[in-house]
Symmetry: D3
């Protein structure tokens, strides 16, 4: 199967660049089941990184356009490459191939690992949004806590040793103080540091890599012949009534 990992910002033009996109593509292909190929693609314009509701809103229109292109290009599933799952409902309205969001995928995976889990996020200002994502995924009852590392997304890779120490420190607080049985890396850059095993070993609880979780979710759906329900995410009413996609918008 062919899976598109859609970065909802112009990563190739930003500080991380094409090299980082290719590194992530390599990791995803290494994590995949035999027979799966993953392509990492990004949108032409949008936010440098996504750390606020505004930046998230900014990225959605172009991201949906790119997901629709991936469906036309024959991909079997698409992953939205940001832990906030920006545009997930909208993309599911327009696409028939499975579209997964790393946050939803990770939350559902973590729910099966124990009684409670925690999410490691970037800033305190993102905690309320993460809690709402747990409500949307339906697993809020298992959310022990959301805790922030305080390291901006674009700084996470600057000093990996410092980042790792901070991830261990925050994950440990989740396990010790909030009684989390497992924890998630609530940011794609955090996940692609691929530090899960080390942080899990340090705190004695499993770590969920959001990139891996989204990939496995997509592979599972494709292999089962399933996609999101069109009862839940129907085509926009105007298109159901026969209007073309372009008619939804006044230029």
């Amino acid at each position: 199967m062919r899976i598109a990992y859609v970065v909802p910002g112009p990563m190739s033009k930003g500080p991380m660049g094409l090299r980082e996109m290719r590194r992530r593509e390599g990791l995803l292909n290494a994590w995949a089941f035999p027979g799966t190929t993953v392509s990492v693609v990004d949108v032409p314009t949008g936010p440098v990184s996504i750390e606020s509701a505004y930046e998230e809103a900014l990225c959605v229109p172009a991201t949906i356009d790119l997901i629709m292109k991936c469906e036309r290009d024959g991909f079997d599933a698409a992953i939205i490459g940001c832990f906030g799952d920006p545009g997930l409902e909208a993309a599911r309205e327009l696409a028939t191939i499975p579209v997964v969001g790393p946050c939803e995928s990770s939350l559902l995976l973590a729910a099966g690992l124990g009684h409670k889990f925690s999410v490691l996020t970037v800033f305190d200002s993102l905690i309320a949004g993460q809690e709402l994502l747990a409500v949307k995924a339906g697993v809020h009852a298992k959310l022990a806590s959301v805790r922030a590392t305080g390291i901006p997304v674009l700084d996470l890779m600057k000093d990996p040793a410092f980042t790792k120490r901070r991830l261990i420190e925050v994950a440990d607080a989740c396990v010790r103080q909030d009684r989390a049985d497992a924890f998630l890396f609530g940011c794609m850059t955090m996940s692609f540091l691929d530090l899960g095993d080390e942080v899990a070993a340090a705190v004695g609880a499993p770590a969920v890599n959001a990139g891996k979780a989204a990939l496995k979710h997509a592979e599972m759906l494709v292999s089962m012949g399933l996609s999101h329900s069109k009862k839940a995410f129907p085509l926009p009413a105007k298109m159901q009534a026969g209007q073309p996609f372009e008619a939804l918008r006044v230029a």
Copy 2:
């Protein structure tokens, strides 16, 4: 005080046109407390009407730009003129003047009218989204039901007598079958038909006009010297760190 009512679609270029915008502006000014002036403005491009998650996502970037312009132009508060409250969190991150959404305003008002209330929406496909908005507003515990009229937004004004009969029929089901004590018009076009008193009288329960509710919410906040909490909706981190607004985006 001066309040901007920001239509998140290019209404003046669409089928309803400038005339309908001016009619709504007239109603809002008639509903206002003495001393309040309301201006209705719309965005230059975007969805014809908003009846899906995709159309909602599509409108947000331009809507936020316009709200920021309203703040610079000296308005005391802004109302997002769509019942889905598109971009509410994002706008609150960037604005310091109160920004209100008709859905949140109506839900909080209705919560004070009785034990339970219902929302009249446009399509069945919008029910889950409305339920999530009740979770976001914090009043999900009082939501008796969301029921759809099935009349597309752009058709609501075509046959007002039919629309009124259908609103009464659906509101009556909310009161009779779902034990709602009050109900909301969950769509701005539905609200600006100004049929609340007639529908309320027919079913024997108060009706909340979302346009009035948003206006009163904005007036209340301005008159109390309050705005949304910057603990909840802080400026994006990059701007807190000194970068200009423009730096959030890669063109």
Copy 3:
């Protein structure tokens, strides 16, 4: 419009006296929209102050009598002047004009300011009751915490500087430890100290003055032509069956 602020204890005969009633009347009129007049009235007998379930129960019969008199006297709305909202349901059964309670009004207002809010109350023994009021208002999901200052109602005005320091200290704990985005003064005497702006500035989160919130709630309802739902608060069954009000009671 004319609004009655009904004090559910004999304040004019108590330690605060008529002077404090007139001071509060002055503040309410200063806070009102143009065209609103507020009269502060009190009951002839009842509790000195309300700091327990017993004192709250004690005040209700006389308070309802006075609210009914206000309706007969042509007031457009009534505010129950105690943060416990004593007798709110009972008064709404008997009155057709809007009757608002400062707790419900403040909770619904605060719910629109951020993701979570806290209530500052008087004693630890009132916390459970405040939580139940949040359930009744439908916004329990947004209640970050209820914290007590420990200062008896009748002592709040004795040393305003001490009271202010204590309010800041407790509000700060709500914001810092409980992640409240906003907070309420959960006591009318606390609210009429009019320290909201100072406390808000000190802790960096908006403060809701319960007196102002109740007033704005009443003004909003009257200006919208709304009142509480008679589906939720019907006239007592005996009166619906034709018996006079007096027949409800055996002397």
Copy 4:
């Protein structure tokens, strides 16, 4: 042990009269464990029957006075003789002997009989109040439904055969449509008709008699040496500070 059953209205002066009070006393004593004596007493003035929030509020001050007298007279426990549990918290603040309310007692008993239970109440207007009592008791999660018979309290004994048929009809709807495993008689007059076994047999699910449930609850607490927690229901603060009971009130 000696238990006082305190009727919160002047039953001896009303249509049911002293004879009905003595009949209920006889039933309670017949239901009691060996060694228990129950006395039924009523307040001198108050509501004829309690079918609204107003009538409930009206009865509380005199009821609490009578409960305090019962404690001084040496009773080991008191039952508030109305299914709305009027004044329960206030009475517990002032009394040290156990004070139980039939609603709370019945709800906690029913919670142990199956997964879900329903309450049979008098009027539709009482449903929301009953739901709140389930929240207060902590067992709202097990409440399948509240359904009304529509028979006024004072008419329940007029045509017992009709009442029985109606109780069976409503209980059957609870079991068949709402999936209740058990049901409560949510009214003392309904309970003292002593029709539980017949109605239970007719619908195939256990019926909880609120009078029996309150009695057993009181006997259980006394025999275990337990009473309500003074952490939850402390003496009013003024009395803790040394003021006499009389000082709480301004005449």
Copy 5:
């Protein structure tokens, strides 16, 4: 009435032995209402003590066999003698006499003592299971906390003074830090130490002895002529269809 207290492990063959079984029988008979006789019986094989989900699962088949024998032997009710209530649903499917579990009995009793309560358990690893039992009992909304003493079941009686100090320490944390109004001994051996009055006095909040609570629950049900609902706990379908009990199992 005759009540069987069924120990779900072979206590008479274990370290506590027959002497401890007889001591517990003595306490139960001393706690009972006049006219009640309690017999303590144990299963022939099974876990030494129950401190994990595995040990709990291990005990159930033999425990149910013994409860069924007690019903055939004419007992009026059965108590499952372990705070995890192992096999409660299964036993209720097969028995018509009331079967009670000390955890459910204690939770429902504690729910009537105040706003919130806590459970004292043995190990941290049992906290999630106790929370689920509160969900099953329907009173999760009143659960302030579950805290562990860390003393293994078989060590609780070794140094009673140490155990008492530890119980006071943990109960105090529940009351002080978690705002519990009452607390339960969440283990039968803990309960049969009969230290409730001393621990309650030390922390100023009522203590619920799970053995007493289960006994009173059973006595209450028998005296009211009630048992668990067969709507909730029906006979296994194969037996309803006429097959004998033995046919459920392939040897």
Copy 6:
């Protein structure tokens, strides 16, 4: 990877027999990702089929023994082959390889397909148990309904055309009346009929096959190097203290 599918009853000795076990093994291997081998094994004694809490309790000890043997035999993961997930927590305490239950696996998968889902179960008497399993999985908030087909497990394969019609009828009620966006086959025999695509097509919503879901869940965990958290499911305390497994039990 090698996965054991552990049937918690002696299927090879029962009416379905070894032939059905081999048929299921064939399906599982056909559904698996390349590189996965599935072996279907059953316990020597236990229930004929599992349709009650009693039959579920009966199967657990032998099932756990077999799972432990599978771990010793080098399997990479184990699936408990009953939709009630009997013994899931207990098995996870003792095993270090991933142990999954089809109910938990299906619920978490379905939660990602839409806003709400329903479970098709066997009998009405299993509804409450299924709801509790949704609580345990953490996704109760997304459970639209549980509906029973009323066909005993052992009859499901007798008339596949009738079974299919009944499945479509019940699934349709879930989608139409309960607003489910997707539905699960809440029984392994129902799932191994492999009718998912036909039923899904008939009702227009995705169907989750519990056997496929459990298999994919197991494959996902193994391929990610994850297993259930030992914080949530620790080894029994006696074994942590050094005692052998055999010491947990008195023969």
